[in-house]
């Protein structure tokens, strides 16, 4: 079987990343945005792993992706807690309603 090659991984990673970004930018639902974040992180993870496989980085990339997965879990937990709190306060999770940071 012919090897997929680095660029294939990178393309997939990029697509994932862009999808995540678009998801973040377009979704008004807070949960949806969290999903977009997961996509972005995973796109990055894919790149790390791909680079660790195809270049001289060795295991560093894989360790980095593990870190990311752990962080993503933690982040999701915190974000979900925020979303819940937000919902408790505003009875919605529409992020456009959360304009408290407006200068």
């Amino acid at each position: 079987m012919e090897s997929v090659g680095l660029s294939g991984y990178l393309i997939v990673g990029a697509v994932l990343f862009v999808c995540g970004v678009i998801c973040m930018a377009t979704k008004r639902n807070g949960i949806g945005i969290l999903m977009g974040v997961e996509l972005v992180l995973n796109g990055a993870n894919l790149n790390f792993v791909a680079f660790s496989q195809h270049t001289h980085l060795g295991l560093d990339g894989q360790i980095a992706s593990l870190f990311v997965i752990v962080l993503a879990a933690a982040e999701a937990a915190v974000a979900l807690a925020i979303a819940l709190n937000f919902y408790n306060n505003h009875l919605t999770i529409d992020v456009d309603r959360a304009a408290d940071l407006k200068g």
């Binding site: 973040m24 930018a25 008004r28 304009a99 940071l101 200068g103």
Partner: protein, 826 residues
Amino acid sequence: MSPDIYIETGTTLKWLLTTAWLLPLAGFLIEVFGGYWSGRKSRAAAYLAVGCIATGFVCSLIALLTWIDAANLNVSDIWQNPGAVAAASHEVSEATHADHEHDAHHAGAEHDGDHEHVAPSHSEAEHHGHAVHGNNPLKFAFNGTFYTLAKFGSIQVTLDYYIDGLTVLMFTMVTFIATCIHLFAIGYMSDELTESYEDHQVHLPGGKHFHRPGRFYRFFSFLSLFCFAMLGLVLAGNIFQVFIFWELVGVCSYLLIGFYVERKSASTAANKAFIMNRVGDFGFLIGLMILWTWFGTFQFANTNPDQTGQQGLFQMVRTDTGEIETEGEGLNRVAYMQSLSGQRLMGNDGQARRIPYWLLVVAGLGIFAGCVGKSAQFPLQTWLPDAMEGPTPVSALVHSATMVAAGVYLAGRFFPMFTPEVLLVIAYVGAITAFIGATIALVVTDIKQVLAYSTISQLGYMMLAIGVGGWLAGLFHLITHAFFKSLMFLCSGSVIHGCHHEQEMTKMGGLYKKMPITCWTMWIGVVAISGLAIPITLPYLGAIAFSGFHSKDAIIASSLSFSTLNPTHSLLFFIPLITAGITAFYMHRMWFMTFFGKPKDHHVHEHAHESPWVMCGPLLALSFFAAFCAVGGESGPLAKLLLTSEPTHVAGGLQAAGNIGLNLPSHHDIHECHGQAGVMALLAALMGAVIAYLFYCKQAVDPALVKARFESAHRFLKSKWQFDEIYDAMFTRPVHVVAKWCTGFDREALDRFLHSCASLAVGIAQWDRKFDEAVVDRIVNVLGEVTFAAGRTLKGVQTGRLRQYVMFIAAAVVCLFVVLFLFLPR
């Protein structure tokens, strides 16, 4: 011969005269302070003043006797070497004899030529005597120092005394006349002995007369101060000291003229007198500056027979023969200074010390300018008539006998310093003054004014005499004039007192019965000043005449001989001759108008009365001296006494070595024309007197007609030759204008400049503030504002919408990448 006698006699004279000099000062201090705190009715001040001056007179008299004694017997040989004594004494007696005969002859209108051989021997012997004892142009004198005023290296300013025959004589004359006048003033000023003196000449706005406490004591204290100053002037041993006392008599005169301080006319006259004297003193000061700078001493002469110490001015400027040793021509001409030993004086640099000749002339003119001011000579004569505002005793003492004569005294004293040019100026000034004074005296009607103008005229005579080399005649007339003029002033005072302060002669007349003593004593004065005489001579007494005849005769003779020797200056003979006639006319006019004719004002006439004895006594005493002080004429005791102090070159007569060829007459020359001059003067005087008699006593001619005939001339004379108006226009008003300019300059230029500086500074400050506000502050503010505005604008970006933020991040990352790819080098 021995300096011991010199010192002994000199010390005696010094102490006598110093006592006479300082007593009035002590009197002044006691009177002025004691009088202020004592009652107004006390005569104590007068008694004290009289006591002081009378004691001074006694001292002066003793000094005079000492002097006569010394000059004739002992002292004459101090200055001469033993060999010359016999010759000198012989010569003196011979000359005396000759003089007697001269006098006798010229009085008889004759002259005998066979005395000619005597006079030359006179001067020859004198010159011989001087040649023996070095450079001493003065015969007998004592000098010394009281104390030092200042000392700078080799030059010093001191208070000295200088005593010769002239000093002693002046002392006696001044103290005697002053004593008489003090006594007279006790009577004259007695209405001041009150707590409330009413001054009729001062009108208050309410129409009332002015009342004030009497000032008897003040009058006498001022008189005492004056006596002190006057005697100090005479005693002074250097020209600087003369200047000091010159100013002091000036201020005393100021105080006495302005005695009635509440009268505006009096205080103005006092100011005028002082300021015009200061004009003269300005010249005096210039003279002093030149003398001080070039000679380095003020001393008259060093007469000590030891010939130690510094030589005085007289010795420096003239050689033992009385010449000024000069060299060069025109402005380059220099005069060499002489030392005591009769050689040229050497300076510190080994060069002979010398002075530009023209500076010597200027110095002489300067000193003479002082004399012009003090003696009221042309062109500064106008203060003296105004000075008659003072009480009459003041006029008698200060403004006729003593202070105004001080100018003549100084001209006589300083005679050796005068170059021929200066002498000529003196002569002309004297002649002009004599004429002006006499002409104005013709028309004035105030009795004191007549006397004032006559004083001016007579002082002019004296100056003229000195100017033409008649040193003796000038000073002779000074003494005789002092007696008869103070006599006449006191008589006029007596008249004024008797007529209750009426001075206008047009309101008098017919007073001779009411005031016989005054009338006849005044007659003596009038005859004396007119120079009338009976052309008969008595053995040893000369002509039968009063003092004025002798002295005026001497002056006319001097000027005649001068104009004979210098025919270009013959005016100097004719003016005094004419003036002599005018003098006789106006003096008799005054006398006739006052005492004879019909009473013109009955109110005045009825209240007129003879004065008390305290006033008449002095009149009699003075009239005795006015009549007889010059007895014997130029060979009489008075003239002989004066001769002991005559500067040598005068007696010699010389071809004066100036830039102008002048011949000064010697005694001999003067004697030669004495007879001729005497006749002319006598005729002129007689004519004047007779015309006055016809006009004012016989009323043969109506003076009013004459007045109308010569209307314009009369008006010109009445306005005193317009001098006051001219001076007012020429000096007084311009001075005030310049004064205004000066303050205007201060205000308009200097202060305005300062103020504009200040305004400029304030303007700059304001501009500076504006700059601060408009520029510096603005920059800072704008910076802040811009920052603030930028923040406000950017605020909009922060919407708080997370999705937007994400978009921005993404877009920014893309942009970053694009930029990196575009610009980063690969």
